[in-house]
């Protein structure tokens, strides 16, 4: 660690991992409710568990991005963070808001929560991923603005690298597109149209800039490849991401009341969206092959390579699977969507945050370059356990999805939703089992932080 202020990232990383655990526990609860319908009912109905699962995910990824930025930006800018105090204060505000919101989901009836937080005044609640009370959303905006100010000032006073600029652009985009969360007209079609400006333009737009910037940073560090080369790749990747991804939004405008021309535009442009993800895979492997140094942090390198592959599989391959309008007509809103959502989020955003944690945490904790080999071996075990079980979760959900599409949508005698769900229960049991392995992987990941030993060096 070159600058003292980079250490504020630690708080963010710890909270991110804690929320990750909460996310997975509620995922497992839902997985069980899929097969034992009344499990925990009416205390934790499915929708409540789902809000906790998805909102914890989003919040911990945001925390991870912020931690990553607090670590990365000063190092790139070659200066201390503008205000470490502000970063710490915003952390506690963010954590308190997130904690209070999750507690409220679990303890207060949702309609009551909507009422007491004044949802009538500016109704924004009750939409997928945007379930947070309006006041929590405002809190998120305040925290993000303070955060952007802090890293923006740091960049301004320091060296301006492409990685910093791209990261900043991605984070500003994240903030700007989140503002669409406050637009919720009575007309459901308009509501849905602009809802995607948050959801799609995040994960298939500006977040890819954040992903690319973090990946580029870690690759420079672990491979020692020339910055000019890495930054050229970065620009090409994000160019393809936005060229394909912006109009790719159209793949959500097929069946929600929007004009039919979106079927053509959405299909064409979203079919190009795997390209930037494939470039990321080439990028990561090429840079590691051309490395100019042996970095002792093998685990971080593994995560960096892993995220490039899994993002391509989850977003690129599983996205392409259902993105063409004639296919999507049958797969829209089925377990196929869930399969893709899981692997894409895990491969692209969970793994990039862990990549950064894996690279930065040892340095923040005072190691010269990396954890002990013993600790790294355990961490790499957790990599394989989580990643392989996520592959299986995806495969089981895909199996469930194909059967669901066949039985409920495609065959000559379509059957009712609930009937079909019972017929494919075996796949949900297998998903739940894979989920348990995922949890074990996560526990082992956490254990790896507590394994001491002599620091690894290059042999």
């Amino acid at each position: 660690m070159k600058y003292q202020s980079q250490s504020v990232a630690k708080l963010y990383f710890i909270a991110a991992i804690a929320l990750f655990v909460a996310q997975i526990l509620f995922g497992l609860i839902m997985g069980l409710q899929y097969v034992i319908g009344d499990f925990l009912f009416p205390h934790i109905p499915f929708n409540v568990a789902r809000m906790v699962h998805t909102n914890a995910l989003i919040v911990w990824l945001l925390m991870g991005f912020m931690g990553a930025a607090y670590y990365l930006v000063p190092e790139e800018a070659e200066t201390e963070l503008h205000s470490p105090k502000l970063a710490v204060a915003l952390f506690w505000i963010f954590l308190a808001a997130a904690g209070a919101t999750v507690a409220a989901y679990l303890l207060v009836n949702y309609a009551t929560l909507a009422h007491i937080t004044g949802n009538e005044l500016l109704p924004t609640m009750g939409r997928e991923f945007l379930e947070q009370p309006t006041i929590t959303k405002i809190g998120i905006v305040v925290v993000v603005l303070g955060f952007l100010f802090n890293i923006g000032m740091t960049i301004l006073k320091g060296r301006k690298t492409s990685i910093n600029l791209v990261l900043m652009l991605g984070l500003v985009g994240l903030a700007v597109f989140f503002l669409f969360a406050f637009y919720n007209p009575d007309n459901l079609v308009l509501d849905k149209y602009y809802w995607w400006f948050v959801v799609h333009l995040w994960v298939e737009g500006v977040w890819e800039l954040i992903l690319g910037a973090i990946l580029a940073f870690v690759l420079i560090k672990v491979t020692g490849v020339d910055r000019e080369v890495i930054e050229k790749w970065l620009y090409l990747i994000i160019a393809m991401a936005l060229i394909s991804g912006i109009l790719g939004t159209g793949h959500h405008f097929y069946w929600i009341g929007t004009p039919a021309y979106w079927q053509t535009i959405g299909s064409i442009f979203s079919a190009l969206e795997p390209i930037p993800f494939f470039m990321m895979t080439l990028f990561a492997f090429n840079m590691v092959n051309q490395r100019r140094r042996e970095h002792p942090n093998k685990a971080a390198t593994l995560w960096a390579l892993g995220t490039s592959v899994m993002a391509f599989l989850g977003a690129g391959v599983w996205g392409f699977l259902h993105t063409l309008a004639p296919v999507n007509y049958f797969t829209h809103g089925t377990q196929i969507t869930a399969a893709h959502g899981h692997m894409a989020f895990y491969g692209a955003y969970v793994m990039i945050v862990i990549t950064m944690i894996s690279y930065a945490m040892p340095l923040i904790r005072g190691r010269a370059a990396a954890n002990s080999m013993k600790s790294q071996v355990v961490e790499m075990w957790s990599f394989w356990l989580m990643t392989v079980s996520m592959i299986f979760i995806t495969l089981f959900l895909t199996g469930a999805g194909i059967l669901q599409v066949w039985l409920q949508r495609y065959s000559d005698a379509p059957q009712a939703f609930m009937v079909v769900q019972e017929k494919i229960a075996l796949f949900y049991w297998m998903r739940e089992f894979a989920g348990l392995v995922f949890l074990i992987g996560l526990v082992i990941y956490i254990v790896s932080f507590f394994i001491e030993g002599e620091e690894a060096t290059v042999s």
């Binding site: 319908g37 929708n47 009750g126 079609v189 050229k232 049958f330 809103g333 939703f417």
Partner: protein, 144 residues
């Protein structure tokens, strides 16, 4: 990745491409906004429909159901439930009203929301309005 193709070329492609396609999205959004009124039959969004959307949101129905294919995949699609229930708002209201508070043993359960008569009618009217949006004949069949 060599020769004349430099980092600044790549950067220019990025800025040029992004700005161009962002403008395209804005243009198409304007066009979409112009054509939507014929498709979403917004003239039928009465106060009751608007209230129904509020009831829908305040009870987080989307946390279990899909609506036009978006949402959660735990419970039936509801954009066409009005058709599935024989174009009967009463049937929809009856279903929502009759959910046992303790759930159905062993079966995926829907909560008892204790909606008022006014809220029940509003949410049913909302689902009726949704079922009449021109959504390119989605879902493929009545089962949703």
């Amino acid at each position: 990745m060599s020769g004349a193709f430099t980092k600044s070329t790549a950067r220019n492609i990025f800025y040029g491409g992004s700005v161009f396609f962002l403008l395209m999205l804005i243009a198409l959004t304007f066009d979409t906004m112009g054509t939507l009124p014929e498709r979403d039959h917004r003239e039928n969004i009465t106060e009751q429909v608007a209230m129904g959307k509020k009831v829908w949101e305040d009870n987080n129905c989307i946390g279990c159901h899909t609506l036009m294919g978006e949402g959660a995949y735990f419970a039936p699609e509801l954009a066409n439930v009005y058709d599935r229930f024989g174009k009967s708002k009463e049937a929809i209201m009856g279903f929502i009203m009759s959910r046992p508070a303790e759930g159905v043993p062993g079966r995926r359960s829907m909560p008892q929301f204790n909606l008022s008569q006014e809220e029940l009618e509003a949410v049913a009217e909302f689902l009726k309005w949704v079922s009449e949006i021109d959504d390119e004949n989605w879902p493929p069949n009545i089962q949703g």
